[in-house]
Amino acid sequence: MTEVTYLEAIRQGLWEEMERDERVFLLGEDIGAYGGAFKVTEGFLKQFGDDRVIDTPISETAIVGAAAGAAHMGLRPVCEMQFMDFLSCAYSMLTNYVATARYRAGGLPTPLVIRGPVGGYVRGGPFHSQMPEAAYLHTPGLKIVCPATARDAKGLIKSAIRDEDPVLFFEHKYLYRRVRESLPEQEEILTPLGEARCAREGTDMCIITWSAMVFHALEAAEQLEREDGLSVEVLDLRTLLPMDDAAIDRTVKKTNRVLIAHEDTRTGGVAGEITARINERCFEYLDAPVRRVAALDVPLPFAPPLEDYVLPQTADLVRASRWLAAY
C-alpha cells in the first residue's frame, strides 16, 4: 500500500490500461511533451510513443469526432479536455454523433472516454470551474462518471476505458492533489460503472451527492453527529448516467429524509432528475420534502468571496440538514 493522490490514481489507471491493451490511445491538447495541463499524462509520450499519445490542435470537435472514428474501427481512444469547460465546443459532435451512433447505426460501436478536470473552489472564474454534468445528463447513449476518491478515480477510469460505450469522466480538479489514499499495489482495482457507494452509514437522513461535494457531505455529517446527535448517511453516486436507482431507493427508504447536494447551479441541475425519480418511486417513504443544496443560479464568479458565496459550502449542508431533521 502506498499513498497516492487522486491525480496519481487516474494516471495509474490510464497507464495500466495502456499497458494492458494496445488499442488504448490518448489524444488531447498538450498531453504529450508537456504531460497535460495538470500533468496527468506526464511520462506517457516517452513510454508509449507518439502514435498512442497524440498532441492535437485546439479543436475539441475534432478531438471528439476523431476519437469516434477511431473507436468505430476498434481502437479505444481516451480524450483529454484541458478543462471540461471546453467540452462545450464539442457539444454537437458528442450529443448528436457520438451518443447516438450505436442506436441509430445498427449497433455501431463507439467506445471512447473523454476525461478532464471539472469543478470550482479554485478561483478559476466562470470558464475554468464548470461542473457541467447536467448539460450531458439528458443525452441517452452517454455515461457520466464523477469519482470522489482516489480508489474510485482509478477503478472507474479503468472501467470506463473497458466500457463498450462513450463515457464522460469528470475529474474534480480541487481533489487532484488534495485527496491522498493508500491503494493496494498488487490488486487490480476495477469499479463498475453505474454503482453508487455508501460513503457513510446513517439512519436519520441521507445526503445524495458526488464528486468533491462528497467531502462536504461527510464533513457536514460529522458535524451533525457531533453537534446534533444526528445519524446522516452519505451516498456517493459515482456514476450519474446510468443512475443507480436501487441504491437511491435503499437510502431513501431507510432514512426517509433526503438532501441532494451538487456543485452545479440549482436550476436544471441533476438534483431535479433525482428528486423526480425519488418522488416517482419512494413518495410514500418521504417524511419531508427532498431538499436541494446547489450553486446559486449565476455564472461562477472569480473573486474568492463571490465564489465562496455562490458555491455550496459545508455550512449550507448543515443548515439544510437541520431543517430536514426538524421537519
Binding site: R52, S59, T61, A70, M93, Y97, G106, L241
Partner: protein, 349 residues
C-alpha cells in the same frame, strides 16, 4: 497508360479496366434510375420524410468512390447526395428503398432515414444531418489506419455549404497536421439549399481552401466521370503512399431543388438549362460509344439490368412491414442493464 486493346480506341484512364468503364456507367445509371423510382414512390407518399436527389451529380459521386480500392478496406463517408458512392461501395437498392420507406428490415431498422446507414465491412460510414461532422470522424477513421500501419484510405464528402462549418475546419486541420490518408471531396454544386456560393464563401473556387490547411488541392469537372475518377485516384494514391490529405473540388450542379419540396424559385432559368445540357450520364454514354468502349447494345443491357434490379427491389420492399413499435427500445448501450436509462421507461401503472 495501359496498352490499348484496339488500335482505334483512345486509352482508358490509368487503373480503369474496360469492365470498370462499364461499371461506372452502371452505377451512374443505377443512381439515376433508383432516384427516379424514389420520386415516384415519394409522390405516392410511400417515401417517409424528404427526398434528396443527386440529379446531375451522379458522375461526381460514382467516379470518386470508384477510385477507392474495395479490396484494401478503404472507407468513405457520403453525403445525402452521394447515393452513387454508396452503391459503388456495395449498398443495395433494396437497402436504400427500405431506409426511405422506413421498413423493419432496413439497415437501421427504421431508426434513421434515407442513406444514413453504414457498413464498415463494405466500406461506408453513414453521415448524420449535422453538416461537417463526418470530416473529424473520418480523420479518426484514417488515424486508426495510420496507428495500425494499414495501407487503407478514407474519403469524406463535403458540400460547398458545409465548408463553412467549424467541424469541417477542425477536421481538415487535424487530418492535415497528422498527415492522414484522407481524401476530401468538396462537391461544389453551386448551392447550399438556396444559398449560392458567393454568399457561402468569398473564394471563387473552393480548392483555394487547400492552401490554408497546407494540403494538396485539385479541381476537376465533376460532370466528367473519367476526370473525377482520375483526379480522385491520384489523391487516393497520394494518401495511400503517405502523402497525406488532398482536397478535391468537383465542379458540378444541383439540378433539382434542395429536396423534392423545393421548387428552386431562386435559381435563374438559363443556369439550369445550361447544366441540363451538361448531363454527366449523357456525356459518358456518348463517350463510351464514340470511343468504342461500349456498344449501344451493351449500354442497353446495362439500362435494362438496372431497371430490373430496381423493380425487384421495389417489389420486395413494398410488401415488407414497418418495424414493431417496441423495437424502438434497446441498443442505446452495448449492455443494457437494469441501470440503463432505457429501462427507466414508462412506469408501471
Amino acid at each position: 497508360m495501359r496498352p490499348n486493346p484496339e488500335e482505334s480506341q483512345p486509352a482508358l484512364p490509368a487503373g480503369l479496366s474496360p469492365e470498370g468503364a462499364h461499371a461506372l456507367y452502371y452505377f451512374m445509371r443505377l443512381t439515376r434510375s433508383l432516384e427516379e423510382r424514389l420520386v415516384n414512390l415519394y409522390r405516392q407518399t410511400k417515401v417517409i420524410g424528404g427526398l434528396f436527389r443527386s440529379l446531375g451529380q451522379e458522375a461526381d459521386a460514382v467516379g470518386s468512390a470508384f477510385a477507392l480500392d474495395r479490396t484494401k478496406g478503404d472507407i468513405l463517408a457520403p453525403l445525402i447526395r452521394n447515393l452513387g458512392s454508396m452503391l459503388v461501395q456495395g449498398a443495395t437498392p433494396l437497402e436504400v428503398l427500405r431506409q426511405y420507406m422506413a421498413k423493419a428490415e432496413s439497415p437501421t431498422r427504421g431508426r434513421e432515414l434515407n442513406i444514413h446507414f453504414n457498413d464498415l465491412e463494405r466500406g461506408f460510414l453513414g453521415q448524420i444531418s449535422h453538416l461537417g461532422d463526418m470530416v473529424p470522424v473520418m480523420a479518426g477513421v484514417t488515424l486508426s489506419f495510420r496507428i495500425r500501419r494499414e495501407p487503407r484510405v478514407g474519403m469524406v464528402y463535403v458540400g460547398d455549404g458545409a465548408t463553412s462549418t467549424g467541424a469541417f475546419h477542425e477536421g481538415m486541420n487535424f487530418a492535415a497536421v497528422q498527415k492522414l490518408p484522407l481524401v476530401v471531396i468538396v462537391e461544389n454544386n453551386g448551392y447550399a439549399y438556396s444559398t449560392p456560393l458567393y454568399r457561402q464563401t468569398a473564394v471563387s473556387a473552393l480548392v483555394a481552401k487547400a492552401a490554408g490547411y497546407g494540403v494538396a488541392g485539385v479541381q476537376a469537372d465533376g460532370n466528367d466521370v473519367l476526370a473525377v475518377y482520375e483526379v480522385t485516384r491520384a489523391a487516393v494514391e497520394r494518401a495511400r503512399s503517405g502523402g497525406g490529405v488532398t482536397l478535391v473540388e468537383l465542379l458540378t450542379y444541383r439540378r433539382t431543388g434542395h429536396a423534392e419540396h423545393d421548387n428552386q424559385s431562386y435559381v435563374p432559368k438559363e443556369e439550369r438549362t445550361r447544366w441540363e445540357a451538361n448531363d454527366p450520364l449523357d456525356r459518358y454514354r456518348d463517350r463510351l460509344v464514340a470511343n468504342g468502349w461500349a456498344t449501344e447494345q451493351q449500354i442497353q443491357a446495362l439500362d435494362d439490368r438496372v431497371l430490373e434490379e430496381i423493380a425487384t427491389a421495389v417489389a420486395t420492399c413494398e410488401s415488407e412491414p414497418m418495424p414493431e413499435a417496441e423495437s424502438a427500445l434497446g441498443g442505446v448501450y452495448a449492455n443494457p442493464s437494469r441501470l440503463s436509462p432505457e429501462w427507466y421507461r414508462i412506469l408501471d401503472d
